[in-house]
Symmetry: C2
Amino acid sequence: MSERTEDGEGPATGPASPRLVLAAGTTATAAVDGLSAAGADPDLRAHTPSADAEILEYGRPVRAPVVPVSPSGCPTPAVVTRAVRDLLGFETAVVDAGLAKPTAAPTVDVGARPGRDVRESEAVSNAAAVFEEGRAFGRGVPDDEVLLGETIPGGTTTALGVLAALGERETVSSSLPDNPVERKRAVVDEGLAESGLSRGGAAGDPVLAIERMGDPVQAVLAGIAVGCLEAGTDVTLAGGTQLAAVAALVRHDGREDPLELATTVYVAEDESVALDGLAADLDLSVTVTDPGFDGRDHPVFDGYAAGEAKEGVGMGGSLAVASDYGLPNRRIRERVLARYRRLLDSPGE
Amino acid sequence: MSERTEDGEGPATGPASPRLVLAAGTTATAAVDGLSAAGADPDLRAHTPSADAEILEYGRPVRAPVVPVSPSGCPTPAVVTRAVRDLLGFETAVVDAGLAKPTAAPTVDVGARPGRDVRESEAVSNAAAVFEEGRAFGRGVPDDEVLLGETIPGGTTTALGVLAALGERETVSSSLPDNPVERKRAVVDEGLAESGLSRGGAAGDPVLAIERMGDPVQAVLAGIAVGCLEAGTDVTLAGGTQLAAVAALVRHDGREDPLELATTVYVAEDESVALDGLAADLDLSVTVTDPGFDGRDHPVFDGYAAGEAKEGVGMGGSLAVASDYGLPNRRIRERVLARYRRLLDSPGE
C-alpha cells in the first residue's frame, strides 16, 4: 500500500492513504428468516447500513435509531474501522448503494435503490445504470489506491447468488457463528429458478448476474473497482466473501489486473468458508489480519473471537492499513474499547 | 479550539478537531449580472459549489466539469482549505444546501433545493423545513466543536438581503476586487419590495428572512448552528460577511451563546466592509488570519493579495485551526502550490 507523504511534490492524497470507499445499501433478501446477524431485530436491520455509515463518519449513530450491537454485546465492525480511522486519519467516501433509511452520513449518489429479494425474478432492476455510475466515479477518484468495503444485511446470501450465477465456487461466510449455509443455498436455488438462470448462466455478464441474483452494493462496488482499474488506481477489496464475490464480478467483466483481498482472520479461518480456494480461482492475493481479540474477556472482543460479525465495513482492510503503518494492535484495541463505550452512551435521536 | 487527543479516554473526535461542516448550494441570484466572481463563466458558475465540495473531499474536481480558477489564475479558496486539511487531517461533512449540478462529493441530505432569485417574492420556499432538518443534524453531530463554512455563488447578495430583512447593519464583502455594492443594494431593494417586507420587517423571525430574502445555504447553516448550540457544541463561523449574516440569523432566533467568526485578512481589511461594526452588533468574537500571500509573485497568491476571492469554503476557519495547531504559513503555502498545480492538471470528466 502507498506510503504516507506530506511533502509538496509527492502524491497529494491527504493525511493518509488509501481512501476507504464504503458502499452502504440494503436488499429485501435480509428479511428472509435466519440469514443475517446484522441488526438484532429484523425491523431495525434496515437501519444498520445507515448507522454503520454514521459510525464511520462520526463515531456513533446520529440520525439512525439503532446501535448495531448484537444481543451478546458484539458491536458492528464499523467500530473497529472507525477506531483505526481515529488513529490514522484516512479519508473516506460513503456511497449510497440503496439505503432504505435516512442517514446523517454524507453519501455519494449513484442512483442506487434498495434491492429486492433474490427469490424474485429481478433483484436489482437498474444494475446496469448503477454499475456505469460507479464506474464513472471510480475513474474520477484521484487517489492512488482505494479500499472498497460494504455494509448490507443479507449480503452473504446475495454473494452466493452472484457466485452461482457466474458459475464460480459457491462458498460464503456469515455474520452468525453457525453459518446457515443450507438456508442460503435454498434461497439461491429458488432465485435461480425464478430468474430463469442456470448455474453459470451469467458467466461473462456481471451486470446480468447482479440484476438477477445480486444486490445494489455489488453493482456499486464492481463498477467502482472496474473504473479504478481503468484509471490505474490500485484496488484493495476490504472484506470477506462478499468482496470476493465483487472480485468475481470484476473478473467476469474481463479485468485481469492484480487485485488484493484484505480480510480478517475470522473469515479466513472459518472452516465453513473455502476462502483460499475462491481466492485462487479469482487470482486474488489475500491479506489476513488478526487484531488479537482472543482471550480478552470483554464482550466487544469475545463476540469476534467466537465467530460473530467476523468482517464488514472495511474492517479487514483497515486493519491491513494499520499494519502497514506499524500501528500496534494494542492501540487499536484500546481505541475500539473507547469507541464502544461511547457507542453504548448514544441512543441516537 | 479543542486540543487533539489520541488517548482512549479523551474526546473521541478523530484525528483532528474541529470538524468542518460545509454547506454547498446555489441561488438564482448568482445569475444577476456583475454580482459574483465565483466561476468565471455564468453558465459554469452553477457548477462551482459542486466542484468546491469535490476539491475539499478529493483535492480536485471529479464529476464537476470546471476548475474554479479566475481568469487571472486565482483559485477557489477550497484549494487553501484542502491544503490545510492535507496537513491536519480534520474531518468534514458536506451538506447539500441546494446544489444545482451533480457532485461526486459525499453530501448530507436535508431536503434543500436551489434558491430562487431574491428579487422574487419567495427566495427559499422550504426554508422552515430545511432549517429544522439542519437543526436536527446540528443536535446530533457528536463533535465538541464544528466549523461552519459555505460555498454559494451570489451569496454576498443574499447575505445583504437577510441583513436588510432583519434590520441589521447592511455591509457585505465581495469575491470581486471592486465590490459592486450599489448593484447589490438595488437587487435587495427590489427583493424587499417584491417580498412585501420593510427593512427590519423580519426581525426576530430568521426563517421568514431566509424565505423572502435569503438562500438555502443560510437555512442549512443557521439551522445547524442553532442545533449545535442547543447540544452544547461549540460553533465557529468560518467565513466573512456571509457567515456574519448566519450569525445574525442565529441571534434573531434568540440564541445568545458565544459565537466565533474566523475569517481572512482579505475580508477584515476590506475598506468596503464594516466587519468590525457588524461583529460588534452581533456580539461575535472575530479571529483574523493572514496566510502571508502578499508579495509572492505567483498567480495563486497574487489574486488574493489583490482582493480576489477573499474567503469561502471555510478558508478563514481552516487557517485559524492551522494557527491553533502551530502549523507554519510557509508549509500551508507550499501545500497550496502543490494542490494548485494538480488542479490545473485535472480538467474533470
